[in-house]
């Protein structure tokens, strides 16, 4: 077993005067989908934002692909090979779908073969290629946000709630695309509240509570134990 693609060691993050992450320890193995689960407000988004560098860790360290990136600025982390799909999707609404995708390929021009793969996963993006992204529906915007991450091969994808607020049919489209990405050998750290999606995609799991990772293990272990699900995630599972 090779070293993990991403390792967080005792990471503390403050947002303004609030102490949000209280020492997160987390490992994301290579070539796997790691689910980051937990109730609302426990710090999942903050963890991802700390990894990409939108928030700076006050203490602790972040290692990516064998390199200490704790002090690197966000663009350097991205260029080192981290793709980020934020919770709010981060679509450039004034730009067309095409322009969003062109920007997403930041190190080389868009690869046509990759684009075909993306169109196959998300046909509406082909239909609306020349349209302003702001005019897309919520589901189509979510497709675009994932498609942007797929525009270029990255070593690690951080994806925050890709199925939030989507109709079931689009949820399955999304899940298929993520599975595709995984099958290409990508490492993914995925925040997902929809447990059936999480179960279908996840290899390993980290559960957060109150700014810390409180449990890690294999997805199979969590999925197989209703009791474990209950104690670890209580409220959030009941909601689904």
């Amino acid at each position: 077993m090779s070293d993990p693609i991403l390792t967080l060691k005792n990471v503390h993050t403050d947002i303004a005067q609030y102490h949000i992450l209280h020492g997160v320890d987390l490992e994301v193995p290579r070539g796997q989908v790691t689910m980051l689960l937990g109730r609302n407000g426990v710090g999942k988004t903050t963890t991802l934002r700390t990894v990409i560098g939108h928030w700076q860790a006050r203490a602790g360290s972040v290692f990516f692909d064998g390199q200490d990136i704790t002090a690197l600025p966000t663009p350097a982390r991205a260029r080192a090979g981290i793709g980020f799909v934020p919770e709010d999707m981060g679509i450039f609404t004034d730009l067309t779908v095409e322009e969003n995708m062109v920007l997403a390929a930041s190190s080389a021009p868009l690869d046509p073969a990759r684009l075909d793969w993306i169109f196959a996963a998300f046909p509406p993006l082909k239909t609306f290629w020349d349209s302003e992204a702001g005019n897309l529906s919520g589901g189509q915007k979510q497709m675009l946000s994932i498609a942007r991450a797929m525009a270029e091969e990255r070593k690690l994808y951080l994806i925050d709630e890709p199925t939030k607020g989507l109709a079931p049919a689009i949820v399955s489209t999304m899940a298929r695309a993520l599975k595709d990405l995984k099958n290409q050998g990508a490492s993914i750290l995925l925040v997902e509240q929809n447990f059936s999606v999480a179960k279908a995609l996840g290899d390993s799991v980290a559960v957060m509570d109150d700014g810390k990772v409180i449990w890690t293990g294999a997805m199979a272990e969590l999925a197989g134990s209703a009791e474990l699900q209950d104690t670890l995630m209580g409220l959030s599972m009941e909601a689904h």
């Binding site: 920007l103 509406p124 189509q140 942007r148």
Partner: protein, 343 residues
């Protein structure tokens, strides 16, 4: 789970009202020109005033175009921009004075060559000045508006004083180059030649900026960065470098605007840029922070309105632009072409 037909989506069609609403800002300039015609009555006066309003608008646009992007990209309020206008004017005029052999010659080629050299000198100096200003004065106060206002006003005052030190305390009068003096007559209206040049320069700049913003990757980064800088950085682009580039380009354009405005007024003072900043800020605000198209439309409206009102009701000329700003902000609080902000 049922499979919804999620792959054959369509956009909700825009209603005619929504279409009109989207197109309104672009239509406002021609509407203003027609209203001006109706109010003025005389074709020749209207034509003279319209060209003069467009010329003034183009020059304000040149000064405002960089500032609006600086606002939009980094949320930086820079009063120092006014100093770049003045410095540009002084550098440019110095070059024109040194080239008086060319500017006095009855050759359009030589005249334009002199202006071109003056513009290049002015833009180079203000570009370097802008680069230093960004590093020393603006960078330490990112994200803090009150401090930005204080330190950039401080920088403005210091640079104005330096102009006094270098060029002396009094205003400098300057003649336009030989072939750009006087007017041409068209349809009974006298149209100053220099104003036609100003309109041409403004148009070329606007088209060029649009091309860069729409057709180049740097342009895409700038437009995306105005909307959501965080995401642009997360895609791997060093937005801070792009911002410095935009700041330097904006400063150089302020220098260009300064030369053109100086030649338009035929007199330059250290405080000229500071005085222009009122109009420049009005244009940036009514256009929508971060929108080059908005600044263009806003600048033309400000220029036209100022000229029409000065003719129709001179007493109102001073407040006409404040009135315009108030009206537009009541209609669209974010300006005419607001850029959606992610945060």
């Amino acid at each position: 789970m049922t499979a919804a037909p999620d792959h054959t989506p369509t956009f909700a069609a825009l209603t005619p009202m929504e279409r009109l609403d989207k197109a309104t800002p672009i239509l406002m300039v021609p509407v203003l020109v027609v209203l001006g015609f109706l109010a003025i009555g005389s074709t020749s006066s209207w034509l003279t005033l319209t060209v003069s309003g467009l010329a003034m608008g183009m020059m304000i646009f040149i000064m405002a175009s960089g500032l609006t992007l600086v606002f939009g990209l980094m949320d930086v309020i820079n009063f120092g921009h006014g100093a770049f206008i003045s410095v540009g004017a002084f550098v440019g005029v110095s070059v024109l004075v040194a080239l008086s052999g060319w500017t006095g010659a009855a050759s359009l080629m030589l005249n334009l060559a002199a202006i071109l050299l003056a513009v290049i000198a002015a833009m180079s100096v203000t570009a370097v000045l802008g680069w230093g200003f960004e590093r020393v004065i603006v960078r330490p106060v990112y994200g803090a508006h009150l401090k930005q206002i204080l330190v950039t006003v401080g920088g403005l005052i210091v640079i104005e004083q330096l102009i006094h030190v270098v060029w002396g305390p009094s205003e400098i009068y300057i003649n336009r180059p030989e072939m750009l003096q006087g007017a041409v007559t068209f349809a009974g209206a006298a149209i100053e030649k220099y104003r036609l040049l100003a309109v041409a320069v403004g148009l070329v700049l606007f088209v060029a900026m649009r091309l860069v913003l729409r057709r180049t990757k740097i342009g895409l980064i700038v437009r995306a960065g105005v909307e959501n800088g965080e995401m642009v950085r997360a895609l791997g682009y060093r937005l801070s470098l792009v911002f410095i580039g935009v700041f330097v380009a904006g400063s150089a354009l302020a220098g260009l605007g300064g030369v053109m405005w100086g030649l338009y007024q035929e007199v330059i003072t250290a405080g000229m840029g500071e005085r222009m900043m009122i109009l420049v800020f009005i244009v940036v605000i009514i256009g929508g922070l971060g929108s080059v198209e908005g600044a263009f439309i806003g600048a033309l409206m400000v220029g036209l309105l100022q000229n029409y009102i000065a003719f129709l009701e001179p007493k109102l000329a001073l407040i006409s632009n404040i009135g315009l700003m108030t009206a537009i902000l009541m209609w669209r609080p974010q300006g005419m072409l607001p850029v959606v902000k992610a945060k």
